[in-house]
């Protein structure tokens, strides 16, 4: 059998064992044992097919049919990143190129008493026990092949630790760049964010691509939200037309904590975002906002979970999409209300504008409620631009394309306005306006 015909799964498993064989003593560490268990899970699950309920509308066949150079060294300088940059304000900016942390490109402004920010590999060298205690604790047993794969291969990414009672003033912006200028590249960033009691953090992950070869990003972020803590988390995907992205963000919230997530998919060939929030505390509130703009033959799939485990908590979700051409969109929103989670309030809404008869949107709200004293609601809409509004604007002299752009922008505005990192919101306002005007 020639190497070309070995499938991606086999190649990855072989690669894992090859790496393991040169690890010496480290192979017996608890950290590595977690990875080994994850590999076994990946081996058992295999890449999902569309027969898998969670992947019914999202076919990864095309994604796994290619080969990728995982962990390829990218040499990217500031000049090459210029076009990809989000105009900066005072923020901690951390760069990863093809999954490798770049000390040269990164810069930090927050004090170390407020926050520890380091690459996962560095953090593990310094404090292996601490990193191990967080690693895969939220994701283990998740029955997701891509997450298990990421765990098995986790090498780099970010490790953020905010001690108790720290309000981190400057946001942390993680920039993941795939350098696909000369070859197909793959990266599997693994991020651990632990925010202590009564602390707050604003965090963003931004994904970009250089070049037009294929890129495959399989990202996993675990976020621990301590008691009374407040975490805002944004994910901005503006990748190439040849970029495949699978991402899982797994969150655990403690008592009286607040968590905000904003997921904006501007561009990419195939995108699957899993956002799983476990409200494992009383009186906490989770907010999920999403926006997506697929065109051409792009595919964007958002799967979200709000898992209410304790009483008196609230989750609130609003996803919006504009689909053009032959684009496909998927939204699957699960709300679990466990037997203990009385007095839960859970709201979910997914609204879409479909601009072409060839574009499709599949929405599936899924509510599983095991408590009796709860308020839950969900709604999805899929429609076209309001013709009456369009005529109103045109009658004032606004051209049809301009009126369409204004109306579409207005449709997105309530999600964009939820993004509280100014530089990112302003960047998105500009990019979205430009995208809608085209």
């Amino acid at each position: 059998m020639s190497t070309e015909t070995i499938d991606l799964k086999t190649r990855l498993i072989t690669d894992f064992h090859a790496r393991e064989s040169v690890m010496n003593g480290e192979a017996s560490s608890e950290f590595h044992q977690k990875k080994r268990a994850a590999l076994a899970e990946f081996d058992r699950l295999g890449f999902p097919t569309i027969r898998h309920e969670e992947w019914k509308y999202s076919n990864v066949k095309d994604l796994i049919s290619a080969s990728y150079n995982f962990g390829a060294e990218g040499s990217v300088g500031f000049a090459e990143l210029e076009d990809l940059k989000i105009p900066e304000q005072d923020a901690n900016i951390v760069y990863f190129v093809n999954g490798h942390y770049s000390a040269e490109l990164s810069r930090f402004v927050s004090s170390q008493t407020e926050i520890t920010i380091s690459s996962l590999s560095e953090a593990y060298k310094k404090t292996p026990a601490l990193v191990t205690s967080y690693f895969d604790e939220l994701t283990k047993g998740g029955q997701d092949a891509f997450t298990a794969l990421n765990t098995a291969f986790a090498q780099d990414g970010i490790f953020i630790h905010v001690p108790d009672n720290q309000s981190v003033t400057h946001p942390v912006i993680l920039r993941f760049v795939s350098d696909a200028r000369v070859q197909n590249v793959g990266s599997q960033p693994r991020n651990i964010i632990a925010v202590g009691r009564n602390s707050s953090l604003k965090l963003a992950e931004a994904f970009r691509t250089l070049g037009t070869e294929r890129s495959f990003t399989n990202a996993v972020t675990e976020i621990y939200v301590g008691e009374d803590a407040n975490v805002e988390y944004y994910k901005v995907q503006n990748e190439s037309d040849n970029a495949y992205h699978i991402g899982t963000t797994q969150v655990r919230m403690s008592d009286r904590s607040h968590f905000y997530a904003g997921t904006v998919t501007l561009n990419g060939r195939f995108t699957r975002n899993n956002l799983n929030i476990v409200l494992d505390g009383e009186r906490c509130d989770a907010h999920m906002y999403g926006l997506y703009f697929p065109d051409g033959t792009q595919h964007v799939d958002n799967h979200t979970v709000a898992d209410h485990c304790k009483p008196n908590s609230e989750s609130n979700e609003l996803y919006k999409g504009i689909l053009r051409d032959r684009a496909k969109g998927v939204f699957n929103g699960k709300i679990f209300v466990r037997p203990d989670a009385q007095k839960t309030n859970a709201f979910q809404s997914c609204k879409n504008i479909v601009l072409s008869p060839d574009a499709t949107m599949n929405t599936k709200p899924q509510l599983e409620i095991f408590a009796d004293d709860v308020k839950c609601s969900h709604g999805t809409t899929t429609g076209q631009i309001d013709e009456e509004a369009l005529f109103y604007m045109r009658s004032r002299g606004i051209s049809r394309p301009e009126a369409m752009a204004l109306l579409m922008y207005a449709f997105c505005a309530d999600v964009v306005s939820q993004i509280k990192i100014d530089s990112i919101r302003e960047y998105l306002e500009g990019v979205i306006a430009k995208k809608l005007a085209s």
């Binding site: 005529f391 109103y392 045109r394 004032r396 606004i398 049809r400 109306l407 505005a413 309530d414």
Partner: protein, 252 residues
Amino acid sequence: MLSINDLRASVEGKEILKGINLEVKPGEVHAIMGPNGSGKSTLASVLAGREEYEVTGGNVIFDGKEILEMAPEERAAQGIFLAFQYPVEIPGVTTINFLKTAVNEIRKYRGESPLDAAQFLKMVREKAKLVSMNDSLLKRALNEGFSGGEKKRNEIFQMAVLEPKLAILDETDSGLDIDALRIVAEGVNSLRSPDRAAIVVTHYQRLLDYIVPDFVHVLYKGRIVKSGPKELALELEEKGYDWIKAEVEAVS
């Protein structure tokens, strides 16, 4: 300025306008009255270019140009303005942003440079005063959650900003209390000038106490069946529309 010749229009195969003829000269105000369902709003919509209506005959010449083939935005740029009977709520677009886009799109169409933010704001503040439009409304999403009176006032405010040559007011008085009606009418009157004209579509005479027309036309079953001076409106107020209907039926 405006010449409507044997205009016929239908919606979903049903003919609503059955041959309208009307001449409007600069400086004139024409009132179009008539019972419900006579085609008044259809006429206003067809002039502004609403696409649900199919024009099946006739033509409309505005300032020497045939406008029926023009898109609504082109007509606006030519100087035609329709004040809507039911202004549309547009969440997410502020009134001020909407108007700035409209003003600059029209300027672009006419080959003029866009107004900068300062020039625009100054102009807008002046016009807002004309119709007692509160600044806070300008910053809110267009018509969203506005009261009926606020919506109508916003229509007149937009008209003041865009300074059309021909204003078409489609039942602007409906749903207004007497104070709001007076403010709206004052706004309209302040824009009257020898080179501008208006068509005021209304069901009731009430508005015409404040916006005094030069001519009154009665529309019935898709035709103008009677025209006269402003006193005709008073007669209609007093006697209703039945005598007009009877006259028409007697002739046909």
